[in-house]
Symmetry: C2
Subunit: 340 residues, 2 copies
């Protein structure tokens, strides 16, 4: 079955209940950072769900813990970007991602001194926690991060479009880093049963429909001047580069970060219309706990600066000229260009 159009998707699926609140937050965040001439990156992270019932007990989910997105958000902050972190509810978040499970509780010790109880971080954990905490507090104090959460694929699309509408005013200073694992399939609203499917009535057959490709209106209509990076995760190596190139030709965006499910934490290929570039962590990097996202983000930040220096027209400068051009661009400032 063919996918419906994106207009039809928004017509059929109502906005999530907290949508207006989130839209207000997005708008304020983008206006504030636009005023200061900052760059904003929208990082999407985690998987989307497709409900199988209206009273959702079961759903189809996409595998993603949010590792890539939450780590990348931290590195974008280090590069001076303001970050909209649009993530799957309960998936990994920047800063807290380092302390999953009971790790933080295990670092704490309690001192009961008469009427005064104090709780401190064990001295041997301070070295681990302090650098993360310092960066977290700094980002918070600067108002440099806005977190918004989604669960279902339709919530994701509503938030994505709203964020783009707010980001459009930044023109080429907006960077979209679409790392979320978005469902390709969904169940049309009118075919979703109201109540929990009963196992007594036998095993159900789930007929899925293709999700419309939102990258098309996003690149062409919503944020035409932005630097857009999409992600492609495959399990069959022979499909990886061909599919990345096909996506670039179809949607005309700037880059696909292509990766294999099995090796995604130590190898990615940055595929742009002009070239492709492999990033691989060495064994020493892996042992030292280096995040591959640090290298991915550095390279994308460099290319984004080149894009900005080139007037946002998409013409890449020769490598090496990027940094100087970016510095010049930053000094000159960028007039917000609204394509709307």
């Amino acid at each position: 079955m063919a996918s419906g159009s994106w207009e039809e998707f928004f017509a059929v699926h109502l906005p999530p209940t907290d949508f207006e609140d989130n839209r207000t937050l997005l708008k304020e965040f983008c206006e504030r950072h636009d005023k200061y001439g900052n760059k904003i990156v929208l990082v999407t992270s985690g998987g989307t769900t497709v409900p199988l019932e209206h009273n959702t007990v079961r759903f189809v989910d996409n595998f993603s813990a949010g590792t890539r997105g939450s780590a990348s958000a931290e590195y974008f902050l280090e590069h001076g970007y303001a970050v909209i972190f649009m993530h799957r509810q309960k998936s990994l978040e920047p800063f807290t991602r380092h302390f999953s499970g009971q790790k933080l509780l295990d670092m704490l010790e309690i001192q009961e001194r008469g009427p005064n109880t104090t709780i401190t971080v064990r001295p041997d954990s301070v070295d681990v926690l302090a650098p993360v905490l310092v960066r977290y507090k700094a980002a918070l104090a600067a108002g440099a991060v806005l977190q918004v959460a989604f669960t279902s694929v339709s919530e994701y699309f509503w938030l994505l479009r709203a964020a783009c509408e707010c980001l459009a005013r930044l023109g080429p200073r907006a960077l979209l880093y679409l790392a979320a694992a978005v469902s390709d399939f969904y169940i049309p609203k009118d075919r979703v049963p109201t109540h929990k499917m009963q196992s007594e009535s036998g095993a159900p057959v789930i007929q899925l429909q293709l999700v419309p490709k939102m990258l098309a209106p996003l690149v062409n209509l919503w944020v035409p001047a932005a630097y857009v990076v999409s992600f492609k995760l495959e399990t069959d190596e022979s499909l990886l580069i061909p599919k990345a190139r096909a996506a670039l030709e179809k949607y005309k965006h700037k880059m696909v970060v292509a990766n294999m499910l099995q090796s995604r934490h130590h190898r990615v290929i940055l595929v742009s219309p002009e070239a492709s570039q492999e990033i691989v962590l060495t064994r020493e990097d892996i042992h030292a706990g280096v995040d591959i996202e640090s290298a991915i983000v550095s390279e994308i930040v460099r290319l984004h600066a080149e894009h900005l220096a080139g007037g946002g027209a998409g013409a890449a400068l020769p490598a090496g000229a990027g940094a100087a051009a970016a510095a010049a661009a930053a000094a000159a400032g960028w007039p917000p260009r609204s394509p709307r």
Copy 2:
């Protein structure tokens, strides 16, 4: 399509890679607490997944954050039980459940004093954190909790059977509190595609098969002397009690905790072969942040004590006789009875 037998399920689905490690942990935990005559509760928590591909990118999931299970585990510890907390990877866990997202980081403040950096919990957060931390440290020091994690429904079943095999030696001192949201359906292994489904080939049809009902061999063969509590979540009120009663008649276990998706955090019905009993939080309870799990667990602990006092034969004592009988039972100790 009918479900296969449980024997067939274990024959077809291989054990998870870390299975032997977890089995060793379960065995040691049960032997240690059995030696001291302790009661052990197995709390299962969170949803199971059904992979749609061998290299899992997509899966069907069951809605469950692990709220019920993680809260209940804490209350069982307070009642002196040793707790096996068998939970979905990344779902809520006892103690840390109180501090989701960035709550814990927000409680910390950093002091840089010359060469010495210290991190402390803000004085206004100590009152919130201290009681939880004290209980967490006490449980840890007593070795009273064992956590094991699953993701897919087949991992869940392998762990469940292994836990039962270890718990059998405790006879009626074992309590099973099966709060996990287990898939009713799965995709037989030979019909799961190896690679990620390609959206170019059109929307797929997913043909699911019924999962065998593990409660049958669990009650009859694996832990015949244990006190077994299952859970039933419905979205249609008219089905709730009839389905709970049908389950008790079919599987001959001790109790079904029946709840509606919409009201599950403030209303449950404990359905036993003899009676049914509603537990409802008052508006004041809800405002005061009372967990309904506190009441559920108290009542089940009381009934389990009666069951023990009755020789584990399932005869319930009149209400009120429970506590005294349990005390007498604890003093006398229970000879481990292995049904295997």
